[in-house]
């Protein structure tokens, strides 16, 4: 360290704890308590990156979350590296590694810097205008843009860190632990409210905690001393929960807020193991107080972006809080009194201040008079017209403003400096207020937007509300908090505050230069490299809405969401178009307020916890028998059971052959099951299914089709009459929850007069389905006393039978076309019964089959699967299932829609079978069907919905939906694929056993 930039200040930085870190490969040192930014500055490093478009050298500019330039890549580990970290927010830890990210090949020599010289060619909208055409060139452009733009690297390996979520509830949530938030917390706590206080920094106190001038006094004490006592008091207050290093990410309606707490990012990497990195709080607050403070604005003048140009408030914080000088030759450029506090801090720390340039004619406040008395040169009514120094500012050129403030006059004065502290006034942090739906109003006096109307139980206080002077901040915070909480008296009522009062104000959004605007670079948005010229260009090209101007120029669209740029952009638009700023409105601030990592958002819901999955009672058996699984809704269903090195095709062919030739067994436990009871249960079924239910006898089963009110098929399944007023309905696996909701909806809202009760019993029962020519022999072995004769136990009937103590519901129903029995037992016996079936079926080589084989077997029979062969646009008539629509019933859900003008069209898509001319060719599900291949574009007549190779038929079969399909039986059509065209013939939908003989074994 050649220069002596650290000053003697041990209050917040612990100089006994020296920390080493690496920046761009160079080992440097800082202290515990430093941010990465203050540590870099103490090493005389300002230049930390290159700008996005012009690749201009950029330095640390601020001390907070509004930082546009000091955006670094932290860490060099493939799993832990983090892009876009703001050096001003990173607490220094031992061993920290960081790199500049927006430069290539290095920060000091940047190839993209050539853009700076080409910049007349790179105006606003340049990317839109140039790289859009010709479209085929985009890939080439993209390569260069990405390579030279570069917003950091994402980690390439899985994030090893742990993240957590927690719900919190409180009476009063206070966002921001500065002086106004602390006072509000104390008032609320004294009123016995449960308070949650969030502060995004490590320490409470905001900017007042390091305020060290002799003018501000609270109750006759130095303001910072008074505040420290308040903080001690609050830390011991049982009503107040304090979360530091916690930033509010999002403020939603109904006072629902998300906050992110950093738990380990400030620790050395080697002590972070097994600790939760970040915690996301989901907060419900009865009342919210926003005390997020304000951020200083820069000023907009020619070359206002050089390293060494910083916000005046940041320069002050680096001296007073971190004990770091940002330069040895300072100049201040301001339009308001607050920068004079920086002047006092510089003076007090013995740091050279060459001059103050103030665009105002004069100021006679207490603080300015004090600076005047120190003999510091002040240039009133002057502005900076240019700056010099490529990688670090070294000179400013100053000229006098004319009367209107739109041009400069007189002779140019040159001043040396290595740090320029600028201040353009203050902007309240209203982001959270607007995120929550609040409306702003414009304050002409201070040129700021302040909170106005809100629908929520919410209050903004302090600088966030537009109070900037200490007495206003304190007294209004006390008054407003009391009113908000409906409190008569507080312990702060007699507070005595002394501070300097600003009297003269002046604001010029775009400061003039001695050069014409077209030859200057007055930056607004440092991160996106947009200048005042770009705003003017956008206006000339016809963009009027501030939202359009923002997008066209990209102003305010960086990761800082334009925290520094927005007000100037608005001001310049207002000035150029002669509009009042209040009438322009502001752009929308969206959550998150500061970027969040994905890890924080997902919390613990990663890996196997990402989504819950449901397992049947037989799941372990499937796993042990080498099943492959597929996801059906949240269920894991056995898909197929490959033996040795069988492919899926091999396994499915073997399984389906076994089911047709001897016996197969399927786990059907996932089907939705709804228990229906009540004296009107039968009437209810008549209303929800298309077919008639009145004559169904106890012990019988019936297939039903359910429509939506628009006439489209919604679900299907078999319902069994268990008793006089008792039914068991089955639904599709994926549709179970929706069917239940829909039925409840009709019962509660349309037919409350019906005496019907619905209970979901999907998880309560498990189902083993045994099918095939030998099914009867197997079932006989298990239930020795059960009469399985066709007379006693015909197809579509049900028996209740006991196996020891186990109550079994056995249904003879079939989805495969084979003779088959479904055994339903209480879920806890599911695996036992399943194993019983396997045991009994051993001599018949009983073969477990999965969903894929089930799909094949039913397709051979032309049975539909709702959701595969239907897509919410198919009526029963389209499915050629006219037989299931009762002609006698007066009404059922969807009936009226079956003869709307659209549903009776002859040329609707209808379900058909398809046979390929080459029997070994298997169609792809989803493939399009056409008639004429030569007409371009081809008319698409429909698509394949189900397709398999049938081992029983020894040929490929498919189901498809086809325009006017019913009329097209026997027609030759084409299925064009990427490399060939497949010839097909339209067929019947039933491919096997048209006479239904197999269901009798």
């Amino acid at each position: 360290m050649s220069k002596n930039l650290r000053i003697n200040n041990k209050q917040f930085v612990d100089e006994t704890r020296k920390l080493s870190f690496v920046f761009n490969g160079k080992k440097l040192y800082g202290y515990k308590g430093d941010t990465l930014a203050s540590a870099l500055l103490s090493n005389d490093i300002h230049l930390v990156g290159r700008s996005f478009k012009y690749h201009r050298p950029r330095g640390i500019m601020t001390s907070g979350s509004e930082e546009p330039n000091a955006i670094l890549q932290i860490g060099n580990d493939d799993a832990l590296t983090e892009p876009n970290a703001r050096a001003t927010e990173i607490e220094l830890y031992d061993g920290l590694i960081c790199n500049s990210q927006n430069c290539w090949p290095s920060v000091k020599f940047d190839i993209g810097g050539i853009n700076n010289f080409l910049s007349p060619l790179l105006p606003a909208g340049f990317y839109y205008k140039t790289f859009m055409w010709p479209a085929s060139f985009w890939e080439k452009y993209e390569y260069f843009i990405r390579k030279s733009a570069g917003l950091g690297k994402s980690p390439t390996k899985q994030d090893p860190d742990m993240y957590d979520h927690r719900y919190m509830h409180c009476d009063i949530l206070i966002v921001g632990g500065g002086v106004s938030g602390l006072i509000a917390a104390k008032i609320a706590s004294d009123d016995n409210k449960k308070v949650l206080l969030l502060e995004d920094k490590e320490l409470l106190g905001g900017s007042l905690i390091y305020d060290d001038n002799d003018i501000s006094k609270i109750d006759n004490q130095k303001s910072s001393e008074w505040l420290k006592k308040l903080i001690d008091n609050i830390k011991n207050d049982k009503n107040i929960i304090i979360k530091t290093r916690t930033s509010l990410a999002a403020y939603h309606n109904y006072n629902f807020l998300l906050a992110r707490q950093n738990l380990t990012d400030h620790l050395s990497v080697n002590v972070r193991n097994n600790k939760i990195r970040q915690r996301l709080y989901k907060i419900r607050a009865k009342k919210v107080i926003i005390s997020t403070g304000a951020i200083e604005r820069p000023q907009v003048f020619h070359n206002n972006d050089r390293p060494g140009i910083m916000l005046a408030s940041a320069v002050k914080k680096y001296i007073d809080y971190f004990g770091v000088r940002c330069g040895l030759e300072n100049v201040i450029f301001t339009n308001n009194d607050s920068a004079y506090e920086t002047a006092l801090s510089l003076h007090k720390s013995g740091t050279k201040l060459n001059a103050i340039i103030d665009i105002r004619d004069n100021s006679s406040s207490e603080i300015v008079n004090k600076v005047k008395s120190l003999g510091i040169q002040i240039y009133w009514n002057h502005t900076i017209v240019n700056t010099k120094g490529y990688k670090r500012i070294n000179k400013v050129s100053v000229m006098k403003l004319n009367d209107k403030g739109n041009d400069v006059i007189g002779k140019k004065i040159e001043l040396n400096c290595d740090c320029l502290a600028i201040s353009g006034g203050w902007t309240p942090m209203v982001h959270l207020f607007t995120q929550s739906g609040g409306k702003l109003k414009f304050d002409n006096k201070d040129n700021i937007f302040v909170p106005d109307k809100t629908n929520l139980n919410q209050l903004s206080i302090g600088s966030a509300k537009g109070d900037f002077e200490l007495d206003d901040v304190l007294k209004n915070s006390i008054k407003d908090t009391k009113k908000f909480l409906q409190i008569e008296n507080s312990n702060f009522d007699k507070i005595d505050v002394k501070c300097s009062k600003e009297k003269e104000k002046k604001n010029i959004w775009l400061l003039p230069s001695d050069k014409p605007l077209s030859k200057t670079k007055p930056f607004l948005d440092y991160q996106n490299d947009s200048t005042a010229k770009d705003i003017k260009l956008a206006l000339r090209e016809g963009f009027k809405s501030i939202e359009h101007v923002k997008r066209y120029t990209t102003t305010g669209m960086g990761t800082d969401q334009g925290k520094l740029a927005n007000m100037h952009a608005l001001g310049i638009v207002a000035d150029t178009t002669n509009t009042n700023m209040g009438d322009l409105g502001t752009t929308t601030f969206r959550p998150p307020y500061t970027p969040l990592t994905f890890g924080t958002i997902v919390g613990r819901n990663v890996g196997q916890f990402f989504d819950i999955f449901r397992k049947t009672p037989m799941h372990d058996w499937h796993v042990n028998n080498n099943a492959k699984f597929e996801n059906v809704g949240q269920w894991k269903r056995a898909w197929y059971y490959p033996k040795d090195d069988e492919t899926m095709h091999d396994a499915v062919q073997r399984e389906s052959k076994a089911a047709r030739e001897s016996s197969g067994i399927l786990d059907a436990s996932t089907l939705g099951k709804i228990d229906i009871q009540g004296t009107d249960a039968n009437e209810f079924l008549n209303r929800v299914y298309t077919n008639a239910w009145s004559k169904l006898q106890i012990g019988k089963c019936r297939y039903g089709l359910m429509l939506n009110e628009d006439g489209m098929v919604y679900d299907d399944g078999v319902t069994t009459k268990l008793g006089e007023n008792h039914y068991l309905m089955t639904t599709t696996t994926g549709g179970a929850a929706n069917v239940m909701s829909k039925l409840e909806d009709y019962l509660q809202t349309e037919w409350p007069e019906l005496d019907v009760f619905l209970t979901s019993v999907t998880d309560h029962y498990s189902t083993a389905s045994v099918c095939g020519p030998n099914a009867k022999k197997i079932i006989t072995k298990i239930f020795k006393d059960l009469d399985l004769s066709d007379e006693s136990f015909p197809h579509m009937s049900f028996k209740e039978v006991k196996l020891g103590e186990i109550n079994c519901r056995v249904m003879r129903i079939s989805f495969t076309g084979e003779l088959s029995y479904e055994i339903n037992v209480e879920a806890s016996y599911g695996k036992y019964i399943w194993e019983k079936c396997i045991e009994a079926g051993k001599e018949f080589d009983i073969t477990p089959y999965g969903t894929e084989t089930m799909h094949l077997l039913r397709a051979e029979k032309g049975f539909i699967i709702v959701g595969q062969d239907t897509d919410g646009t198919m009526t029963p008539v389209d499915l050629q299932m006219d037989w299931i629509i009762s002609k006698k019933k007066y009404d059922f859900i969807g009936k009226r829609s079956l003869y709307r003008s659209d549903t009776i069209r002859e040329d609707r898509k209808q379900l058909v079978g398809l046979l390929t001319d080459d029997p070994n060719e298997i169609l792809e599900e989803g493939a399009q069907i056409v008639k004429d291949e030569n007409k371009k574009p081809m008319d698409m007549l429909g698509h394949v919905t189900s397709s398999y190779f049938s081992p029983t038929l020894k040929k490929s079969i498919a189901l498809a939906v086809l325009k006017e399909g019913k009329q097209l039986k026997g027609q030759k059509l084409l299925v064009p694929m990427i490399d060939k065209t497949i010839k097909v013939t339209v067929s019947d939908t039933v491919f096997l056993d048209k006479e239904n003989e197999r269901i009798n074994g």
Binding site: N253, F256, S741, Q748, T749, P752
Partner: protein, 91 residues
């Protein structure tokens, strides 16, 4: 994320509920008597207003009961919650 005061369970987070669209649309008792236009009016036509809208909500992850909500769509403020079968309040 709203808080919804279920008339059967009390105040709960919005994630426990599903919205069922506009309220007070009664299924015609004799659908077959309606022509296509009248049926389409029932089937498809829904209001989408800025201001107070009457909606059906279901406490899907709770008591499973349906109820009515008068919600201001401009700010999501719930003005009134009332049971199925009750008349919409005058607001």
């Amino acid at each position: 994320m709203f808080l919804i005061n279920c008339p059967y369970c009390g105040e709960r987070d919005q994630s426990e509920f599903v919205s069922g669209g506009e309220a007070h649309i009664v299924r015609p008792k004799q659908p077959t008597e309606l022509n296509d236009d009248q049926w389409a009016e029932y089937l498809f036509m829904r209001k989408n207003i800025k201001g107070i809208q009457f909606e059906r909500w279901n406490h899907a992850h709770g008591c499973r009961k349906w109820f009515n909500v008068a919600r201001d769509t401009s700010n999501d403020k719930i003005e009134k919650i009332y049971k199925i079968g009750e008349q919409p309040p005058k607001l």
